[in-house]
Structure formats: structure tokens, C-alpha cells
């Protein structure tokens, strides 16, 4: 049976709880039960305002926690994120009121960069052994809460790339040269059980954190990060097989890009995102960034 991916249109961040609830209901064999220890990883990659489309919106996390609390009893929920080269999620958490949301839904917070680590052996493309936070040894269910946006290195980012943030070290940019291999490896080591993509305000035409906010009003839900990302790639007009991290993830058996689409969108073209970045501009952006890096 093919992986089920649910694509649903929303009315901004207003009717999210009902839309998320029905989207999750459309996914068969969720395998989450009352009392489970649940990890949720949003994308809090930089100090950008949620209205810029750069990070998972607080309203999105609020709605996901609301749905989980309504559907299941006694979940032990922890929201996780790590420090990045240019950001500290602890600050982002306070700044945009994520901390209040966690308090409201009785969820804990863990900055992966300060969690003790263990080494895990994997048959990866870049790593033979990967250092991961200990929290990944003690959970029952893992939900990725990624953001839908274009990216100058990986063309776009959704569920697979969100896993890059599970690497606890701060200076993750050192992996940029082998980013597709590293993303595939992290997904092999810790594969999400459920992927939910915040595509309500997506971001187009820029590098990782700067681009044009686009009110695309969609949420994508599925169990396999590869099939979820295959749908996301098509929304930006890309062939999934030409996206490095998707190709590499299939190669090492993370998942498959075959999917069966459910939800209230029959044709992907109806919700296709106007990806205005040109090939030439992408080259120039990367060139500029490389020159800047060498000079500084």
C-alpha cells in the first residue's frame, strides 16, 4: 500500500484545529496511544517573526497540541529544537510566546544542544556513527512540525530538512557541503512517525530564512517524510527525483516518493505555490554567500 499524504486547504491560521484534526484522521495506522512519550520538533531556525514564513507559526504548534490533547489521554509531550549557527531557540521560544503555549497544553521544552548525547551506529552516506541527544533513546512517538519554504542549498525545506535540526551541535553549517547526505542520514537514524508541514504562510524565492512570504494556506500531513516531501516538491514545481535529499533518502531506505493523496485537494496544481526564484538568481545568491563567507 502506498503512503497516504493528506493535503488540506485552510483559512489562514483561523480554522486550524478542525483542519488538523480531520487531516490526522485521514492518515491510517497512526500508532500513537494514550500515555505515549511524544516528541514534537518545530522549525525555530532563526530570529524571524512567524509572519515572515521563516519559522513554524506559534498558532500552528498551539493547534497541534490542542488536537493531541483532545484525541489522546496522558501524553507526555516534549517540544524540541537545537541551537543553530545563527540562532538560539530558547530566545525564539520566549519572544513569540511558544513558552506560554507549552504551559497552556502542559508540554515540556528541551533544547537538544544541552541534552546529553549518545552515539548511534548507522549505515549512512556521510556518517557511520551519529551523535544524537539522549532524548531520542526515550520516546514512543515523534512528530515533525516543519515549515514549507524554498532553500538555496536544498531547493526547498519541509520534513526531511527539518531533521537537520536534530543534530545537537550549534555550528551545523559545517555540514552544508554534504547537506543532502547528512539530511538522509539523520532521517535514517531518527525517522519521524508523523510529519505535519505548516504551509499556511510559506516562503519563496530566498535562502533559508529570507524570502517572500506567501499566503499559501495549506497543511500537509503524512507518515513518511519522503512521500510528504515529494508532495511539497511538486507544490514548488520541482521534480522530487531531482531533489538531492529526497533522492538520497530513497537510496538508503528512509522512505518512498510514492504516495496516495487524500484531503480536500484533488489536483496539486490548484494549490501550487508561485516559486518566483529563478535558476540564475539562485546561483547568484549562493555565489554571493560564498564570497561573503570567504571574506569574513
Amino acid at each position: 500500500m502506498q503512503n497516504v499524504v493528506n493535503l488540506t486547504k485552510t483559512n489562514g491560521y483561523r480554522d486550524l484545529v478542525s483542519k488538523l484534526s480531520s487531516s490526522i484522521d485521514n492518515i491510517p495506522d497512526l500508532n500513537i496511544s494514550d500515555g505515549h512519550r511524544v516528541l514534537i520538533k518545530p522549525n525555530l531556525c532563526n530570529f524571524r517573526h512567524p509572519s515572515s514564513g521563516a519559522i513554524t507559526h506559534p498558532a500552528f504548534l498551539d493547534a497541534v497540541l490542542c488536537v493531541l490533547r483532545k484525541k489522546f489521554d496522558d501524553l507526555d509531550i516534549t517540544v524540541i529544537e537545537s541551537d543553530a549557527t545563527a540562532s538560539k531557540p530558547d530566545i525564539t521560544l520566549k519572544w513569540f510566546g511558544f513558552d506560554k503555549i507549552l504551559e497552556k497544553w502542559d508540554a515540556k521544552w528541551c533544547n537538544l544542544s544541552y541534552d546529553p548525547t549518545t552515539n548511534r551506529k548507522i549505515d549512512g552516506l556521510f556518517f557511520d556513527e551519529i551523535e544524537l541527544p539522549e532524548i531520542f533513546d526515550n520516546y514512543d512517538y515523534y512528530i515533525s512540525l516543519s515549515k514549507l519554504k524554498t532553500h538555496s542549498l536544498t531547493k526547498f525545506t519541509a520534513s526531511l530538512k527539518n531533521q537537520f535540526g536534530c543534530i545537537p551541535i550549534k555550528n551545523k553549517s559545517k555540514y552544508h557541503k554534504n547537506i543532502d547526505d547528512v539530511i538522509a542520514d539523520v532521517n535514517l537514524a531518527i525517522k519521524p512517525d508523523l510529519c505535519i508541514v505548516d504551509g499556511i504562510i510559506s516562503m519563496c524565492g530566498g535562502v533559508a530564512i529570507y524570502g517572500t512570504p506567501v499566503q499559501s494556506n495549506i497543511i500537509i500531513v503524512g507518515k513518511d517524510p519522503v512521500s510528504v516531501d515529494a508532495v511539497c516538491a511538486k507544490l514548488f514545481g520541482y521534480n522530487p527525483r531531482r531533489i538531492g535529499c529526497i533522492k538520497k533518502s530513497i537510496e538508503i531506505g528512509v522512505g518512498t516518493d510514492k504516495y496516495s493523496l487524500v484531503g480536500d485537494v484533488n489536483d496539486l496544481n490548484d494549490v501550487k505555490i508561485d516559486n518566483e526564484i529563478s535558476f540564475l538568481r539562485m546561483i547568484l545568491l549562493n555565489l554571493g554567500r560564498n564570497i561573503q563567507r570567504r571574506v569574513t
Binding site: 524571524r48 517573526h49 509572519s51 515572515s52 514564513g53 521563516a54 504562510i201 516562503m203 524565492g205 530566498g206 535562502v207 529570507y210 524570502g211 517572500t212 512570504p213 506567501v214 499566503q215 529563478s278 540564475l280 538568481r281 547568484l284 545568491l285 554571493g288 554567500r289
Partner: protein
């Protein structure tokens, strides 16, 4: 639509009358001015059958549906009230009035007499402003953080065409071009409620009690800020707005019809595209003559929109309430300059449509 004009000065001559003349189905019935000679000159030029020395006689003409008030703003209130009481729809030059109290009185009397009221805030109809508003509403720059407006305009001191600006004690540029820049800021910020106003400015060391340059700072309820920089002195002819949002920036060169949208990283390709777009905007302005006529070009859009709103009971292009908010900022800015403090605006003073 049968139209009457009060005031035969420069605005009637170069803006209102040429615009009315271009609209099908509009008949200009009469014109009134205290200087009857000026009114007669315009009546000959625009084939207007009735000329009056007093505006009350024009208002008494039963055949007129809509009156354009093109006089200095200190005369607006009385004229507008009399027009409304006579059942005439009113198009009123900027600034409609300069106090909230006067604006509310006009709005109330217009409502009581079931007539439509529209202000002349024609700058918001520049293509560049309309396009910026569309992009902001679409969320292309996220939420607005700050808005910086520049209104550096030339005004010939002692001008015979608008002597009211240079009277002792006049608010000068704040009431003159300031009302346009304030309206642009409010319009682009979706008429968000105003919380605080602070202004500095004056006569730049001159001996005339007149404001020739100033900066107005506004804080809105959505926490965004605006600074409006106004001057007669620089010799520049610059009308520009820089809008910074959480997801990008818009640099709007209003007169040259050019918008530069940025999202942090720019490349040489963007510079080329921007230069091309600027050239395109200027060329379009030269072809449709807006490059030379400036904001006068947009009287036609405004007046057509107002006539349409009267005939089809549709949305008024610039409502009395919107002009009231401009008056609120003018009033607070003048108070702030005089009392050298920020003015905090309470809930009651804010108004929205």
C-alpha cells in the same frame, strides 16, 4: 450627474474642472467664487452656464447634485455643512478639516441629510501606492514594522495661488502636503488605530510663525511605527515611502511610479531588474503624462469613483472617517510641536469605518 464648484482657484482650474470635463454624463452647472472675475474666466473656459459671487447662491441651485469644495481649508467646514443641509453630495479638497471636532460635525450632518462625503486624497491613487497596498494586503512583506514617508516638495513662498499656506500661524506643510503623506501612511497601514503622535519642526530659524519643515512620529495599535518627514526647504521633489515588514521591504518612489521590493539578499540581477522597472515606470508616466502632471492625474480616478459611489451606492473612494483620522494626526502633531511632548490618543478619539 450635475455638478457645482465652490472656489475658482488653482485646484478647480487644474484638477477638478478638467477631471469633470472628461467624465461622460457629467454636466457642470455652476461655479462660485468671492472673486467673481476668476469664476467668470473659468466659466468661459469650461462652458459653465451659471456664475455666482457667493457660494450660498450655488448651493440654492436646485439642479445641482454634487458640489466640489475647492477653497482654503479654513472655509471647508461651514461650506460642507451648508451643502449637506441642502442635500448636495460633497467632494472636499484636502485637508478636509484640521480638527477631529470639525470633521465629526461634517460627517454627522452629511449622514443626517443622507448625502455622500468624499475627501480629495488623490496621492493614494498613484499606481505605485495602489500596487504597494496590494502587495501588503497579500502578505508579501509580512506584518508592517515601520513606515518612513518623505514629502519634500517645493512651494513658492508668497505664492498667489495658495496664499493661505503662508499666513502667520499657519501649520504650513503639515496641513498642505502633510495631509497627503499622513493619508498614505494610514492607507498602507490599513487604517490601524493610532496610539501616539510626536512631532518636531518649525520655521527653520525664520521670523515667520509658520511650519516649513517637520517630522511626525506615529505609533499604531499593531505596534508598527511611522515617521513622516516633511519640508519645503530642500528643493527636492521627493515623495517616497519605505515600508519595512517582518518578511520584506518596499521602497516606493511615488512620483516615479517605482517599487523596489527586497527580501534581504539582493543580487546584481536584482539591480538590473530594478533599473529596468524604474525606467518602465518613468516611461509609463511620460506616456500617460502623470510624470508631468503628478497627482493631478488621479483626480479623474477619484472623481469617477465618487460619482460611481453616488449612482450605485457603492464604496466611497476616500471616506469622511478616513479624512477625520488625517485631521486627528494633524491636530496632534501641531499640539505636540507646540507643547513639546508626545500626544497619547485614547480609544474614543480613534475611529474606523
Amino acid at each position: 450627474m450635475r455638478v457645482g464648484i465652490i472656489g475658482a482657484g488653482i485646484q478647480a482650474k487644474v484638477a477638478h474642472l478638467p477631471a469633470y470635463s472628461k467624465i461622460d454624463g457629467v454636466e457642470i452647472i455652476g461655479i462660485a467664487d468671492i472673486n467673481k472675475k476668476s469664476a467668470e474666466q473659468l466659466s468661459k473656459r469650461f462652458n459653465i452656464p451659471h456664475v455666482y459671487g457667493g457660494y450660498q447662491d450655488l448651493i440654492d441651485n436646485q439642479n445641482i447634485d454634487l458640489i466640489s469644495i475647492c477653497t482654503p481649508h479654513n472655509l471647508h467646514k461651514q461650506m460642507a455643512i451648508e451643502c449637506a443641509k441642502a442635500g448636495k453630495h460633497i467632494l472636499i479638497e484636502k485637508p478636509m478639516v484640521t480638527t477631529v471636532k470639525d470633521a465629526e460635525e461634517i460627517i454627522r450632518i452629511a449622514k443626517d441629510n443622507d448625502v455622500k462625503l468624499c475627501g480629495v486624497q488623490n496621492y493614494r491613487f498613484f499606481h505605485s501606492i495602489q500596487e504597494s497596498k496590494r502587495r501588503i494586503d497579500k502578505g508579501r512583506i509580512g506584518d508592517i514594522i515601520s513606515l518612513h514617508g518623505y514629502g519634500h516638495v517645493f512651494q513658492s513662498f508668497g505664492s498667489r495661488s495658495i496664499p493661505w499656506i503662508f499666513q502667520e500661524g499657519s501649520a504650513g506643510i503639515i496641513e498642505d502636503f502633510g495631509s497627503h503623506l499622513i493619508d498614505i501612511a494610514l492607507y498602507l497601514n490599513n487604517f490601524n488605530k493610532i496610539k501616539k503622535v510626536f512631532a518636531l519642526g518649525g520655521n527653520f530659524g525664520g521670523n515667520l510663525d509658520l511650519i516649513v519643515h517637520c517630522q511626525i512620529m506615529i505609533e499604531f495599535e499593531n505596534r508598527s511605527l511611522a515617521t513622516l518627514d516633511l519640508s519645503y526647504l530642500s528643493g527636492a521633489k521627493e515623495v517616497a515611502v519605505f515600508i519595512h515588514g517582518t518578511g520584506g521591504q518596499l521602497h516606493v518612489d511615488v512620483r516615479n511610479d517605482h517599487i523596489r521590493e527586497t527580501h534581504q539578499y539582493d543580487t546584481p540581477l536584482d539591480e538590473i531588474v530594478n533599473s529596468y522597472n524604474k525606467l518602465k515606470g518613468v516611461s509609463r508616466g511620460v506616456i500617460d503624462r502623470s510624470y508631468f502632471l503628478g497627482a493631478k492625474t488621479y483626480y479623474l480616478t477619484l472623481i469617477e469613483g465618487f460619482i460611481n459611489s453616488i449612482e450605485n451606492n457603492s464604496e466611497i473612494p476616500v471616506t469622511g472617517e478616513e479624512c477625520r483620522n488625517t485631521a486627528l494626526i494633524i491636530e496632534c502633531a501641531l499640539k505636540s510641536i507646540k507643547e513639546k511632548r508626545q500626544i497619547i490618543i485614547d480609544e474614543k478619539s480613534n475611529s474606523r469605518d
